[in-house]
């Protein structure tokens, strides 16, 4: 690193100007008393639980999947064998995100892409193959369904498989995410239901889970997807809670369930851990503080069970470089440490080959190993909130909270979180940040090792991107034909008709969706119903 001017202005990603060192006087007065609070006590910035990772290490939770359902099944088993402590199903994005079957023209035009980003699952039969032999009863499972319009299908599929295996749904733990940031802000799909229909889906899922699957995390707002699109950490926080408020206000309006349950349902979120170590750790602390504050001030909720935010964290994929990919193992470690120092409950580390392809088996194993080293060798799990009381980190935490609420307010002035997606306002914020970030790299103001400096590469290991399998499309097409041939057609039709009627009504969508899956209705047919009933979202940006 070049020697720097000691007077140079250095800022965090959120634009917080940093001093060369911090003293007790820097900590904002209102925040000082909070530092005396123990972890597990309101306002929880010091952690979820007093004994932290001693009593419960974070869950090693890796995104995984590609190819045919059986390829994904094999990869998940590999990860579990290697030490993963929960599992995530990943659905092929071409089909899942759009609710298309593989014979949709837009998919046919890109058939080789099918199965590259997750397994193709067009029916409950495919889900059953993917889940074959997996511990859905004892493990925390992620059903996929990260995309709002896809979530009811993915959840119903997972639950149907579990039920068929004889498990009691009320005992099943897991999540499906169903996150707006993913496809309305981050990776904008070609076609999806409008945001108001999406809000209704998520509220339906929250209500359904409260009644039938109390251990399930019905929705999980992913700040990750906002941050990796360009929102700064303070904005990530502000947007996440603005999103939570949309859910809670909707549940409150509906008056079908106690708000505490809904708050608990929304209280499992996901964040991005990026490379600015202390700011990212402070962000997790700020998030817990903000959540308990929000629930109390806006909804009068104080029960620790709901006011205590649970955080899943994924390291920043966009930070991983294409050049000298092994350097990404170090980046992954630092970002993982940011998350752990911030006290998250579960963690996924991006593969070192992230900028080239989906993770290879080795990259996946490495992501698990990084976490195991942190858990087993570093003594990081011994003390809860190790950064608590640091003048620097407490100041950062308090400043982030303040800035994040200011962004939250800005969103409210735009008409709320969903309105700011509809209008493209959030995209504009992200886009501006992206451009600045890019320019900082371009101008040499921000160095990236192996890319803008230190570009000599002596590695004997040639990393060349993992390309999955090449029969995913063919097999999926075959299975699609097969299910159309072999299912009870009248039953499938009736279930689909019923689903359409429910979509047009204000009844909860989940019972009809479970029926549809049970009756072998396929993903694309469900998507057609959505497109017919809800129309298309008016994408505010030129994607």
């Amino acid at each position: 690193m070049k020697k720097q001017d000691a007077n140079l202005v250095i800022e965090t990603t959120s634009g917080i100007e940093l001093k060369a060192y911090y003293t007790p006087d820097d900590v904002p007065p209102a925040h000082r008393s909070r530092a005396r609070q123990a972890p597990g006590e309101a306002p929880y910035h010091r952690g979820f639980h007093p004994t932290g990772y001693r009593s419960k290490p974070w869950r090693i939770f890796q995104l995984s999947g590609f190819g045919k359902p059986e390829d994904e099944n094999e990869r998940i088993k590999f990860l579990l064998k290697n030490g993963e402590t929960g599992f995530i199903m990943e659905h092929d994005r071409n089909t899942a995100d759009h609710c298309y079957n593989v014979d949709h023209p837009e998919v046919l035009a890109r058939r080789e892409d099918v199965g590259l980003t997750g397994a193709v699952m067009q029916s409950v039969r495919d889900m059953a193959i993917c889940l074959d032999g997996l511990p859905v009863d004892t493990s925390f499972g992620h059903a996929g369904g990260a995309v709002v319009q896809h979530a009811p299908f993915a959840l119903a599929g997972y639950w149907t498989v579990a039920r068929k295996r004889g498990y009691d749904l009320s005992r099943i733990a897991g999540t499906g995410q169903s996150d707006f940031n993913l496809t309305y802000l981050g990776c904008v799909t070609k076609q999806q239901i409008p945001t108001d229909a999406g809000l209704r889906f998520n509220a339906d899922i929250i209500e359904f889970c409260a009644e039938h699957l109390p251990r399930w995390v019905p929705v999980s707002i992913a700040g990750y997807n906002a941050a990796d699109t360009g929102l700064t950490p303070d904005q990530e926080l502000g947007a996440l809670f603005a999103n939570a408020v949309e859910y809670l206000d909707e549940i409150k309006r509906r008056q079908n369930m106690p708000l505490e349950f809904a708050a608990k349902g929304c209280g499992g979120v996901s964040f991005r851990a990026s490379i600015h170590l202390f700011e990212e750790a402070a962000k997790m602390r700020a998030a817990r503080l903000m959540w308990s504050d929000l629930l109390q001030s806006r909804y009068g909720l104080t029960d620790p069970k709901t006011a205590n935010l649970r955080i899943h964290c994924v390291t920043a994929g966009s930070r991983m470089t294409y050049q000298q990919p092994l350097n990404n193992i170090v980046r992954g470690t630092v970002m993982a440490m940011a998350a752990v120092l911030g006290g998250v409950q579960s963690l996924g580390v991006s593969g070192y080959d992230e900028a080239l392809s989906i993770p290879s088996e080795h990259a996946h194993q490495m992501s698990v190993r990084i976490q195991q080293i942190l858990q087993e060798e570093t003594n990081l799990c011994a003390v809860t909130d190790p950064l608590g009381g640091s003048y620097y980190v407490e100041t950062l935490t308090a400043t982030l909270v303040e800035k994040a609420w200011a962004f939250f307010e800005q969103i409210q002035q735009q008409g709320g979180y969903l309105a700011s997606l509809d209008s493209g306002w959030l995209h504009a914020q992200a886009s501006e940040n992206q451009y600045k970030e890019f320019m900082a790299m371009e101008s040499g103001q921000q160095n990236v090792v192996g890319v803008t400096c230190a570009t000599e590469d002596e590695t004997p290991f040639h990393v060349d991107g993992f390309m999955g399998t090449d029969d995913a499309f063919d097999v999926a097409l075959e299975r699609l034909k097969d299910i159309r041939r072999s299912r009870h057609e009248a039953g499938a039709n009736a279930a689909l008709k019923n689903l359409e009627a429910v979509c047009r009504s204000d009844r909860n969508i989940m019972p009809a969706m479970l029926d549809a899956l049970e009756s072998d209705v396929t993903l694309g047919e469900i998507g057609d119903v959505y497109r017919e009933v809800f129309g298309d979202w008016n994408t505010p940006i030129q994607t």
């Binding site: 129309g535 298309d536 030129q542 994607t543």
Partner: protein
């Protein structure tokens, strides 16, 4: 035969690449422009031209996309010319209309062309009128021109189009009066798009009020649409057709076109003259006369008269 004439003939015979090429040549507005105009003039005048204007983001592109299937029932080919602004700083542009209207599903019966305004005020690109006539000559029987409608000067589209459609959104009532005036005068048909958003009714009332001040006979229709779902688009298409029928039946189509032709001639002359003046001012004659007038040897009147005479002198 010149290369340009060959291109024109190929385009007239139905070659899309040739038409596309000619549109680029027209955009450069070089000396070939008149050659192109000459060669197509006999074939021009068959297309109906609909201009679509309105504030950025009103949903013009989305609406045109939604109108296509209706238009294709009445016309065998639809050409779309979509104009977006150039950056005043770099002369570059990001042209995004195609994102909303790929036209792919209609195969060879839709031709979409993007065009940057290249510094032209009035909401149109300088080449727009030639482009329009090229498409007309090549047999595109309906031509839709999308223009930026910002402020009141940006309304040249009404001088090109037979029918001008003004697209507004709920909340339009809150815009400043001066901007309203230009748009209300320009439109033959109005549509409040994004009718799915709150406030469409208030905007309708506002608009009808503004229109009533103009006392137009017959009063222009005010439609409502949600371009993204297609709601109200069929009705809008009918309103556009009705206006065209009205123009034809009342004989106004011909008189309006005559008027537009006059404007076109005037514009072309102005355009050419500007070129000529620039050339003249660069000439040795002008330079020496300017020197003399600076030294006080010639007065302004003498200088101007002498140069004007030079401008009018037939060149060999």
């Amino acid at each position: 035969m010149s290369a340009i004439c060959e291109q024109v003939d190929a385009a007239l015979a139905g070659s899309r690449p040739a038409l596309a090429r000619l549109l680029s040549i027209a955009e450069r507005s070089g000396p070939e422009l008149l050659e192109i105009e000459d060669r197509i003039s006999a074939r021009v005048g068959n297309a109906l031209v609909v201009g679509v204007t309105g504030p950025p983001g009103a949903g013009k592109s989305t609406l045109i996309n939604a109108l296509l299937p209706h238009a294709l029932k009445d016309f065998d080919g639809v050409g779309v010319l979509a104009v977006d602004p150039s950056s005043p700083f770099s002369d570059g542009a990001i042209l995004g209309d195609r994102v909303r209207m790929q036209g792919g599903e209609y195969g060879s019966s839709v031709f979409i062309r993007s065009m940057a305004s290249r510094g032209e005020l009035g909401g149109l690109a300088r080449a727009a009128s030639t482009a329009m006539r090229l498409m007309d000559a090549c047999g595109w029987s309906l031509i839709i021109i999308e223009t930026l409608g910002i402020g009141q000067v940006e309304l040249d589209v009404m001088n090109l189009a037979d029918t001008t459609l003004v697209v507004l959104n709920p909340g339009w009532g809150d815009t400043i009066q001066a901007n309203k005036a230009g748009l209300t005068e320009a439109g033959d048909v109005f549509v409040i798009n994004k009718a799915d958003k709150p406030g469409a009714d208030v905007t309708r009332t506002d608009l009808l009020e503004s229109l009533s001040l103009l006392n137009r006979e017959p009063p222009p229709p005010v439609c409502q649409s949600t371009a993204s779902t297609g709601d109200g688009v069929a009705e809008l298409w009918t309103a556009l057709r009705d206006h065209q029928d009205y123009l034809e039946q009342s004989g106004q189509l011909d008189s309006a076109r005559a008027h537009k032709q006059q404007l076109l001639v005037r514009r072309t002359i102005t355009h050419q003259l500007t070129h000529e003046v620039e050339r003249l001012m660069d000439s040795d004659l002008a330079t020496s006369m300017l020197d003399q007038s600076t030294l006080g040897q010639l007065d302004l009147r003498q200088t101007v008269d002498r140069l004007l005479r030079e401008l009018a002198r037939p060149r060999g």
